[in-house]
Symmetry: C2
Subunit: 228 residues, 2 copies
């Protein structure tokens, strides 16, 4: 890509452009390092969830590491047998497209509508930095995660929903307190955990029920507007 | 541990203590979630390396995610065959002990002396939050990483040294500019890359050589003190 001046003129500026790698590195490795440097930006994509251990929002790189570690420790709760290494790969790459497409908050319905189009364009551009075989492989991992048609993808998605639930529990509400969101909305968004693990879904429901009982998630929609 | 009042009186306060999980969750899962919440703190352990994409230092969780992704994309450069999934698990957990023991900068020789003792105590305490089988498993992964006696551990360590080298390259020096550190010191610290991959070690040397040629790493030690 960098070697074709017609493409170079149109393409997005890359992080590596500020300090180009030596020309004499092998092209395959140069492409891989270019990609690995570019995805440093995952550390700057902020999520809605608050950290437990600091007064700031979590970023996608931190979230992806946490999910991967959850997969390693919780895989035995999957209702179907899963390949742990493959599931870890799914969560490591699942948010990469947000580097170019941005994070879409779970409870933001409007932004969700064109999310897939934006993310597909981002996937083509970002994974396209890699050698073709690896670009195709990462695209396949991302597609698998999104389609949830394999036990590994269903478990990866379950971790992606269980993780912020833990953060919201520790924050005594967190994004559950988003205006207009009710405990039933939270249950509806988290129900995919049950597609992967009945035991983890039971535990998640227990936390949501308890959160609702403590007033960390609303029981009724828009209480202030009920008398409008 | 939480159920024994004698131990509870002495033990370190855990993050989960601020918002305890419901008592009726199964004990095994409660221990796993307690650990997963506790390790949120990896996101607050700062490393010396500067990010490429923002004006701040990297934290251990971001670093661990980046290493895991490097393993997935660069595993074929290993001189010996490696199990990719196992290597990813090594890098996911390799820095966890720093939550209780802190990060020891690569070029800080004094702090390095009691590092292993501090980290072993931290490993006992942190991994001890998990169910026994998983505590033993994570301890074994961490020991394997530290001992570098397997091809997977050697490759994991190589990633751990290659990653900050890329960040320092992008920062046009970064921690290479630490007072008293020379390009030869950098080469000596990075030589373990060659224990895992001759091709990646060649590339790493090329970056260090070029960095030295550009003045991003010193060629001679303590030039200001040469006439003392």
């Amino acid at each position: 890509m960098c070697d074709d001046p017609r493409v170079a003129d149109q393409r997005r500026a890359l992080l590596v452009d500020t300090t180009p790698l030596p020309d004499d590195l092998a092209l395959r490795l140069r492409r891989q390092l270019t990609f690995l440097i570019e995805i440093d930006q995952l550390k700057t994509v902020l999520r809605q969830s608050p950290l437990v251990s600091a007064q700031r929002r979590e970023n996608d790189a931190e979230h992806s590491w946490h999910l991967a570690t959850m997969v390693v420790l919780l895989a035995a709760y999957s209702d179907e047998p899963i390949d742990v290494g493959h599931t870890v790969e799914l969560v490591l790459v699942h948010d990469l497209v947000e580097i170019y497409a941005g994070d879409t908050p779970l409870y933001d319905t409007a932004a969700g509508e064109d999310q897939l189009d934006r993310e597909r364009t981002a996937a083509d551009e970002l994974f396209g930095l890699l050698p073709e075989d690896q670009a195709a492989r990462l695209r396949a991992l991302w597609d698998e995660f999104e389609e949830r048609a394999t036990p590994e993808a269903r478990f990866a998605k379950a971790m992606d929903r269980l993780h912020p639930l833990l953060l919201n529990w520790m924050a005594r509400g967190g994004t559950w307190r988003t205006p207009g969101v009710t405990a039933d909305d939270v249950r509806a968004r988290k129900a995919v955990i049950g597609d992967a693990s009945s035991e983890l879904w039971n535990a998640a429901q227990r936390l949501i029920d308890e959160g609702e009982a403590r007033g960390w998630a609303r029981s009724a929609p828009d209480p202030d507007r009920a008398h409008d």
